[in-house]
Subunit: 156 residues, 2 copies
DNA sequence: CGCAACCTTGCCGCACACGTGAGAGTTGAG
DNA sequence: CTCAACTCTCACGTGTGCGGCAAGGTTGCG
């Protein structure tokens, strides 16, 4: 406000697709594809129709990449999670649009069910992975015991 | 050797592909595909070249299905895990082929490193999923609090 | 031995998740 | 204003993970 050097007001730092993709570790093609299948829309477009991404978009992209890489979710599953999220935000709006306590309670209860469903989905995956970890650790422990039986020697 | 009635000696209960697939919840096509990409080979073939699967094969198939469905691993990643397992079994053989304690120790240490790598891979996935669960549960808790603020009413 | 039900290999097709140009337009530094 | 670098929208190509069909062979009950 006090200087004339055009300083983007922090909230308006927009990146073009290449920079945005680099930032989150994806390719421009993937980012466009995610838009194609409805996972996100750039915050804005330039005069010449270039896609422009803000920090919110980047977080969304990181979210998508995390689910894809780390959890092995398909884009369809990710779309479902994002859809649930959107539904909750619509619920948020509906919540503020009414003052009826019963209605408000109903909205919050829906939101609760949505969270619960998501948590259960994630926990099932964790449970399966944990079982595998447990089995592997048990076998690792047996190997450690056998090394100990071999007697001294600190090579590992 | 002592009787002429061909009685499968318990260890030789072999299933054809359709039964095997049904048993583990896959399709015959998938099972053949897994063989095509080197994930398993049937324990035997019949006179007419029918694939015959034993209990070990079934467990391997269940292992593959679990990783595919629950953990979202690609067949290539599963192949890697199975490859590591095979390496450990080769180590097992090598272990019994020698009596040199140093050699034996080296073999066991390799096995240990293999287990550790696998455990780390799995735990990274779990960590990511757990982070998501934590975030979702925190938001769920805020929703619960807001419902409580709305006062009485046990509808959910 | 006949015959239905199952199996074989081979091959084409499909959905997903992008990669890779082609051809045209945009941006911004010099 | 020029020009390299970037971006746009089609549009076709690619690898994965199977589905499905064809043409023929195998099994095993009756």
């Amino acid at each position: 406000m006090t200087d004339t050097t055009e300083r983007p007001p922090e909230s308006a730092r927009l990146l073009r697709i290449h920079e945005a993709a680099l930032d989150v570790g994806l390719t421009p093609r993937s980012v466009r594809y995610y838009e194609e299948v409805g996972l996100l829309k750039p915050a804005a477009r330039s005069e010449g129709d270039y896609r422009l991404y803000d920090e919110t978009d980047l977080e969304r992209l990181r979210f998508i990449k995390g689910l894809r890489d780390d959890a092995g979710f398909s884009l369809a599953e990710i779309a479902q999670l994002l859809e649930d999220e959107a539904a909750r935000e619509r619920g948020h709006a509906a919540f503020h649009a009414t003052t009826d306590p019963d209605e408000r309670r109903r909205i919050l209860c829906e939101r609760l069910a949505s969270f619960d469903g998501q948590i259960e989905t994630l926990k099932r995956k964790i449970g399966r992975l944990q079982t595998m970890v447990d089995e592997t650790e048990a076998r690792r422990a047996r190997t450690v015991a056998r090394i100990a039986e071999l007697g001294a020697g600190e090579t590992c």
